[in-house]
Symmetry: C2
Subunit: 86 residues, 2 copies
Amino acid sequence: MTLIKVSSQSSTASVAGAIAGIVREEGKAEIQMIGAGSINQAMKAMVLARGYLKDDGFDVVFYPEFVDLDFDGRLVTAIKIIVESR
Amino acid sequence: MTLIKVSSQSSTASVAGAIAGIVREEGKAEIQMIGAGSINQAMKAMVLARGYLKDDGFDVVFYPEFVDLDFDGRLVTAIKIIVESR
């Protein structure tokens, strides 16, 4: 499954476009983010992506999970959101 | 439907407990938040709530919407998240 990485600097429209594109192709997408700023951008992108996909007949829902990432021995807890059409 | 309001100061465990309790009772819950700090707390609470509810046989997903709120004439865009068992 294609993973979209979101930062606090990510454009919400670009992330929304990526989510919509991947869901159209693969039926499912994953978004990964670390920190409040990136979660904020991802959340706004999810609202937009849901609108884009609704126009194409997809009703998408989301669920979040914690993911532990290892940056050279430093353990960081990230959020991964799974996007699925229902 | 019962609306849970989340701030950046909200405890994730308390919000998660509220989400789980309302979903168990009503099958559905709504969470409302304004700003990156509160979205961060709400997202972490959803991961926890999903875990609590999984133990009870509920598989919950969410979808976010924008909501315009009027504070004495000042229009603020908030995020509303609908949590549903699927």
